[in-house]
Symmetry: C2
Subunit: 438 residues, 2 copies
Amino acid sequence: MRLSRYFLPTLKEAPSDAQIVSHQLMLRAGMIKQEAAGIYAWLPLGLRVLRKIEHIVREEQVKAGAVELLMPTLQLADLWRESGRYDAYGPEMLRITDRHERELLYGPTNEEMITDVFRAYVKSYKAMPLNLFHIQWKFRDERRPRFGVMRGREFLMKDAYSFDVDEASARIAYKRMFAAYLNTFSRLGLKAVPMRADTGPIGGDLSHEFIVLAETGESEVFCDRKLVEMAAPGHDLSIEQLEGVFNERTALYAATEEMHDAAQFEAQTAEGDRLSARGIEVGHIFYFGTKYSVPMKANVQGPDGKEAPVHMGSYGVGVSRLMGAIIEASHDAGGIIWPDSVAPFDVVVINLRAGDEAVSAACEEAVARLEAQGKDVLYDDTDERPGGKFATADLIGVPWQLTIGPKGLADGVVELKRRATGEKLSLSLDAALELLTK
Amino acid sequence: MRLSRYFLPTLKEAPSDAQIVSHQLMLRAGMIKQEAAGIYAWLPLGLRVLRKIEHIVREEQVKAGAVELLMPTLQLADLWRESGRYDAYGPEMLRITDRHERELLYGPTNEEMITDVFRAYVKSYKAMPLNLFHIQWKFRDERRPRFGVMRGREFLMKDAYSFDVDEASARIAYKRMFAAYLNTFSRLGLKAVPMRADTGPIGGDLSHEFIVLAETGESEVFCDRKLVEMAAPGHDLSIEQLEGVFNERTALYAATEEMHDAAQFEAQTAEGDRLSARGIEVGHIFYFGTKYSVPMKANVQGPDGKEAPVHMGSYGVGVSRLMGAIIEASHDAGGIIWPDSVAPFDVVVINLRAGDEAVSAACEEAVARLEAQGKDVLYDDTDERPGGKFATADLIGVPWQLTIGPKGLADGVVELKRRATGEKLSLSLDAALELLTK
């Protein structure tokens, strides 16, 4: 992508109402534009990262056996009356009346609708276990939206819903998502710790939040340091392995502020392992059994021929919120430092003298060869001065910067910089391309 | 994807309120479920096709130089007051009030918001030509939603917006999208004819609808038969070539019912070339100049240093509607016949005796080898009887059916059926796989 034909409106200064660093950097890097309180347009650079995060979240759901569908953003109020949540949900629910005076709402979550989809088609235990997920825009009418995409009103969420014939298999489904979440956040370059959580308005008796540790986190969290360093569990786990992954982690202390018990923390955790830090919630999973299937009459016939309500869980990831969390966890004074897996581009090729034929030819060759290897390349072909180009490249956080100028070219060298470390290499174009595509 | 672990709730009979064949078949094939009037959940099979259509639409926009962003579904009423359309739009606009009594609306289109994005960042002619597009859910509160996804209320639309420094370059931008649309519909397996159209509430003086011909089309259209058979123009066209593509087509008569002039049709078109048929609108493009940039003060500095309002066009494709149009144009008594480019799966592998070890091993080998070649494969591993499996495979319209049973396997053969023609080949598994992946 040539920068001269792209749309990357970077800003020198963040607007003063942007209070946290991820919000400031997303505005400065031309990733988002506010269109109303808590409602953002995703500019091209922001959309690229959003799609990469979404892609990883989706892949890990599919690897865990979940099947993707897509429910609409608007829902009938009557569906929520069946579960009793239409009146219970409060002012965060955006209620809408259409031209025929029918009551709709903008879905803040989808337990009712997925239960409706399930009960319409599934009648027998033979169709289970079943896990259906979608990645769709949601709306929660926050009283005070702030922190950019971290507490927006219109936000992108992945929500999965498991259906099982009994509690024992539903708890396995829960643990399968627990493991999938560890894999997901690890691929996103995040250290996310599962913490036992309150079930809140979703209901149920088993729930974990996944918390990314970041100095600027929204709330205080307490956990055993060992949890932070555990490796992701990987795929295709047997039920025994799933139990192991779950038990190994839940045996260690981890709690958000609201669930914290200082005495228990001390009793359970060696002093050197006691970590208190700030955290950002990026995922939340629930087992709630028959809370929705009973009032909504989602019954299935079991192997014994008897009808019984299906056992359910739900599993949310804040896809758009993750972008803020990643930036909070990974930035420096110069700007964003994207993990390779979600970077908007793999490499930015910086042309130090856009009018120079030899330099431009070398840049275009580099771009073509990188793209031929499947790399996403941003080519800064503008006539901006070098200092401005370097500042932009640092700000938008592309993992590699390949700089080509007339002086180096005369000596047969280009410069390759790793954004995360600042390390610079002076080497031949061939060597640089080999390093970038190996 | 194993069918036993998938979610494909096919129906024997379509509900009686489904009036047209695409709606009936989408319900029967388990692609959509109605959640409210004109609001649908996209079940896994439907979502697969939706994503494939979206992917082709996106690729053709990018090839034509458009840059993708993503605007939110909800918009501020005040933005629409700037253009005067908030009051003018009528009851199809879904108006919403949030908890702080701020007026919002669910975007039916995005001229105002994209103009707002543009004016926030672009001040000079140097940033142009610029074409920004997004693919986002829209809502139009149709008085009488019907025909499934063909006239839904919540629907997926691609809308692009061009920005140019003057009318001459804006008209080139228009012709570039005109050509991109011809390429898009051709890749989707459709014969779409551009027809001069009324500009309606979008405004402007130049507009074309792209109409797919289908017996069940919503309206009558009239055109020169030669338009139907013209090949897609291809990519990387010069301005002269773009003009040629545009002029060659617009020289021939083509009009929707509301623009039709019988006398002109007869004068302009040889009798044997006069085609009157039924059609479905799948795209609509507009040049409207400064209609929005003047009231919204989207001004840019020209090469002469003077400020002037930017010239704009907008370009819509009904992504979800296209699915209905494709089915209307391509089905038979057995079900849907997907063009290869948008088929939910490339091949369905049908296991005729799911309990048989040798048959299952052969099926699994076939699936693995096809997937290794990048094919999307549905594996019918259920214990349904063969007749039911064949009926389902025909209904869901996957282009190739590879059937493996114990009898054929003993003779060293499998059966390969092409859905579109019904042609069947009996051949070795190796030969079948070679044919499918060549």
